[in-house]
Subunit: 426 residues, 2 copies
Amino acid sequence: MTISATISQLDTYCREVANRAKVAAREMANLSTSVKNRWLLHAADSLVAQERALLDANELDLSKADEYGLTPAERERLKLTSERIVQIATGLREVAALADPVGEVIEGSRRPNGLEIQKTRVPLGVLFFIYESRPNVTADAAAIAIKSGNAIILRGGKEAIHSSQTITETLRSSARSCELPLDALQMVATTDREAVGHFLKMSDAIDLVIPRGGEALIRRVVAEATMPVLKHYDGNCHVYVDKQADLDMAIRIVENSKCQRMGVCNAMESLLVHRDVAPTFLHRLHDQLAKYNIEYRGDERCSKILADTVPATEADWSREYLGPIMSVKIVDSLDEAIDHIEKYSSRHTESIVTNCIQTADRFVREVDSAAVMINASTRFNDGGQLGMGAEIGISTDKFHARGPCGLRELTTYKFIVRGDGHIRTS
Amino acid sequence: MTISATISQLDTYCREVANRAKVAAREMANLSTSVKNRWLLHAADSLVAQERALLDANELDLSKADEYGLTPAERERLKLTSERIVQIATGLREVAALADPVGEVIEGSRRPNGLEIQKTRVPLGVLFFIYESRPNVTADAAAIAIKSGNAIILRGGKEAIHSSQTITETLRSSARSCELPLDALQMVATTDREAVGHFLKMSDAIDLVIPRGGEALIRRVVAEATMPVLKHYDGNCHVYVDKQADLDMAIRIVENSKCQRMGVCNAMESLLVHRDVAPTFLHRLHDQLAKYNIEYRGDERCSKILADTVPATEADWSREYLGPIMSVKIVDSLDEAIDHIEKYSSRHTESIVTNCIQTADRFVREVDSAAVMINASTRFNDGGQLGMGAEIGISTDKFHARGPCGLRELTTYKFIVRGDGHIRTS
């Protein structure tokens, strides 16, 4: 779907979208929880009721999958079914059940002079969300943004544009029914890449941009954005099997971290093994993972243990494979493991398997990543698994929000100060 | 103080400083509260003991004040005295008394599957702090950065460089005595502006840049920085006197907001008055402020009330005067006041004077600024006044930290997840 427009018209169109979002955001900030929840429940019902329209739109997208060169996995993610529509609706109902973060008094105090201070949670304002081909993301992102009191501008990829547009129209139609500001939820009516550039310049109207997709997209957004960006580039996640690990547990955790879903950001990509347990552990792991056809890219010591080791290059230590490959390094000590992680990790998720409390404690303190696991799979770095409810993304930055980002991470706060004619004397 | 160096050597020097800070930050993150406090108290004593050296260094700076064209006010801020050195030492002792934010468990839960989640506060890492001519800022910033577990690179202005260097050397000498990592506290050994540019490129080593100074400096930093920036450009703060205001209180609050200290970011710059009370209020205010020689830049209606009104231009509504000038606008309604603030405010601090609870409530909800005051002076937007203790700056951004930034605002968090062989099954 494109609008035929010269660049200058596109600029005007993008500005209008952003300005409408900004006006809606002011209204959203003061909207009651009940209106937001009513919309979420209404939208859930509407999506199920609109199944036919959604499947038709999705059919249109699927018919272009070859033209866009989608892989079988991408095509699978793009596909809507009755069951998936029900899942999307269930997601909206789950967001309705989450606590509304807006208005929460984070801290409050009465000063000795009688001044009352409330640090109160408020929405960020306008979000610009850029994503690729999974149509369910349209509904998820809209739900999280609006429940947290923000307006959102959705910019979906061309591969799913008909599905995403139809979902958006359904959600907006529910907004109209529920008296939620219509412009709190807008989808950019073009997949022209130029449009993204226009929005990224509007720091006066857009408070946060959230890009979800490949690393190239995210690097482009970071380079061009004039407002904060919530993102991670990749997830080069490590599991370190310590010399004091329970090896049965270690095998279970490595298998789950690497193989439960290979294409996700919290999957293990790099395995570190203490030299004392390396021969036993690697042979057993190799047997256990035989069914997955894993390629092991290892250092020299790994090659001596596993005959089918492919020699790892320097680049391998930083790679996010997202498939049946893992890098393997044998280390002499906890220090070497931590130093390796410090050097190569993308600071997303690292896990240690050990029975030694001191070792676990040092790993947790010294590894500087969004989530650090002890005796648990890296796959637990996920908003739902960590008890936060729905997430709009995972941040590997340290500023504002780190790790899974849900409702609260899409808010800021203001200081509300109540006096009775208070003036400062010093 | 300059180092003679070609640009390529300067680049190498800056890189070494940043790398040393990065190594120190890893050690700092795990330093006990007692070591940090011991350093603060030792440093406080040392500064007082080094009075002679500090005054001598300050004398050197003051001798160049003419050469650098400092105004009398700037010269006054630059000057150290015995009393001011004692104040700086007291500031360090106050930071020692504040709670250590590092290690705080912000949220914790045990999931139904037995997984234990702790969202734990950790330092940001390496801070790059750029500031201008007040030497006390050197000690304040170092204290806040180190108490919050960070390493800091200080880049002071040339006007106070000898004072700042001597303070830094004293603080580092205390670090050596207290076994605090020496490189957690470094001052850039050149005031060459090129050095700032080099540091701003090092997002791999520096986690946050905090510029304090004029708007031109801050805009340069924002334009060049590849890491997050904690800042405010200016403070165009408003007081709105509502039709239901207690006019005695309103006069007290406007006088305090505008006149207690005119050169600071939380001083009032723009006055909004409801038309119903404007004639009475403005005449009384004019009398009360006569001693300050205020220039009133007003709209047409203001001119009809105050004969000495200077007609305000469009630019006046956005101006931060930092001196005896205020802009004055008569508004017809609360809505007009809020719209005006929305359009022109720098989102730092706004205050309403009113006895109407509904009006106050709408003002607080709809004004999107870091601090919103009811019946209190704008001057209360300050870390100490809000009960946060020392502050390293005030943020008008919404991302990460908003308003005064103290110890906690210089931290992030990580998720620590403890399992017992937990793997994901869905």
